[in-house]
């Protein structure tokens, strides 16, 4: 039987974050931008003790099963939220990756959110609002209630994109059950 999940609790901050964890790509990478957002609870209050992790293809749509530790593209990002519930990850827009049926997906990041109060991680995806043509043919977005798809869209904002994660309530982010 699979080992059950338990909450990450409130006290991971001294153990899990690492200094360049938010850097999926290093500073100065061509095409690099900041993906910024907040994690909010059902009352709209910031969640100051969450951990956001991302995994993505590189700009050419390659998904190496690995963590490249050579000072370049890593694929993986990890950022704890601050007192305002805010996180920021420095990354690049991924290329398009086909699903297992060969259908091209729109550029996206896979996201895990852990926090005190979450007995299991919640899984979502970041898509990009400035990719309307690709988003329109994405096979995963197609399974999401059209009224809720905008909760999965990061919006261009200054030097990057904004993507808030609403755990509960009005405009609750779409979360996925991996099968």
């Amino acid at each position: 039987m699979r080992t059950p999940s338990q909450t990450v609790g409130p006290f991971f901050g001294f153990a899990l974050p690492w200094p360049d964890g938010p850097h999926v790509v290093p500073p100065g990478t061509p095409g690099g931008f900041w993906l910024r957002g907040r994690v909010l609870d059902g009352d709209g209050r910031p969640v100051p003790d969450a951990l956001v992790e991302t995994w993505q293809a590189d700009p050419d749509g390659r998904l190496d099963n690995g963590f490249r530790d050579d000072g370049g593209f890593r694929g993986f990002g990890r950022c704890p939220t601050d007192e305002a519930g805010a996180f920021a990850l420095h990354t690049v827009k991924p290329g398009r990756v086909a699903d297992r049926a060969g259908r091209l997906q729109a550029p996206h990041l896979a996201v895990s959110v852990f926090s005190r109060g979450l007995l299991n991680r919640v899984v979502t995806r970041v898509y990009f609002a400035d990719e309307p043509a690709a988003n329109a043919e994405d096979p995963v977005l197609a399974t999401v209630d059209p009224d809720r798809r905008d909760t999965l869209l990061a919006r261009p904002d200054g030097d990057g994109y904004t993507f808030d994660i609403r755990l509960q309530g009005e405009h609750e982010t779409v979360f996925f059950d991996l099968a």
Binding site: Q6, F11, F14, W55, F67, H108
Partner: protein, 229 residues
């Protein structure tokens, strides 16, 4: 397809108060894993330092408390070992206090104990940590609430689908009955969170040992599937 994990706790478990305003209220949308989810970060040796697995040797002196070995094997849902994958742990010290600013429990900090460790599983999926047994500590979930002694575990496996954060408990803890985090797990699965005393790995005149085997759910991309996409 992997069956839903019948061992996981529900996201909403009202006895655990913090879940009430944080658990999503809408139904989860089923996502058949794509290559994005079937791959994941697999960390190299450079991610882990030589003493990262030994929480008793990270400072000038030795921490106070009962020295223990915590070891086990990580396997996937088909029973195959999960090699070369990152395992992270963190815990309170022997007095039940975390080295974290937010922890206000009036128990002493130990200058010789941080309580964070990491290692990579070997080619058989095995890991081994040396630490001290953590203390129980109070929290404010309900009247006179105490967390059973536990060590937090974070595992990456071989793919995003296999990512797991959990907690390991110790056999026979009298605090189980009143702990909503432990009891949020279906009753039949709770024993999976409890390590077992392992006399065979005890180091005579030095440390007791506990074994905690971990089974990760979720598919991952085999080389065949990667070539197939």
């Amino acid at each position: 397809m992997t069956a839903p994990n019948g061992t996981d706790p529900p996201l909403l478990y009202p006895d655990y108060r913090s879940s009430v305003r944080r658990a999503p209220a809408r139904s989860l949308v089923t996502l058949p894993a794509t290559p994005t989810e079937l791959t994941g970060p697999v960390f190299g040796d450079r991610a882990v330092g030589p003493l990262d697995h030994d929480l008793t040797r990270q400072h000038d002196g030795e921490p106070l408390g009962e020295r223990i070995v915590v070891h086990g094997q990580v396997r996937d849902a088909d029973g195959r070992p999960v090699p070369h994958s990152l395992v992270e742990i963190w815990q309170a010290n022997s007095a039940g206090r975390y080295a974290h600013q937010v922890d206000r429990h009036p128990a002493p900090l130990d200058p010789n104990f941080t309580g964070a460790g990491r290692c990579l599983t070997d080619d058989q999926g095995r890991f081994r940590f040396i630490t001290v047994k953590p203390g129980a500590y109070p929290w404010r979930n309900h009247d006179n609430a105490w967390r059973p002694a536990h060590i937090h575990f974070s595992l990456f496996g071989r793919a995003f689908t296999q990512r797991l954060v959990t907690q390991m408990y110790f056999p026979g803890d009298p605090l189980f009955a009143q702990d909503p985090i432990f009891n949020s797990v279906p009753e039949a699965a709770r024993p999976l969170l409890i390590c077992r005393f392992d006399l065979s790995e005890t180091v005579p005149e030095w440390a007791l040992a506990y074994r905690f085997d971990i089974v990760l759910g979720g598919r991952y991309a085999t080389p065949f599937e990667e070539g197939d996409r």
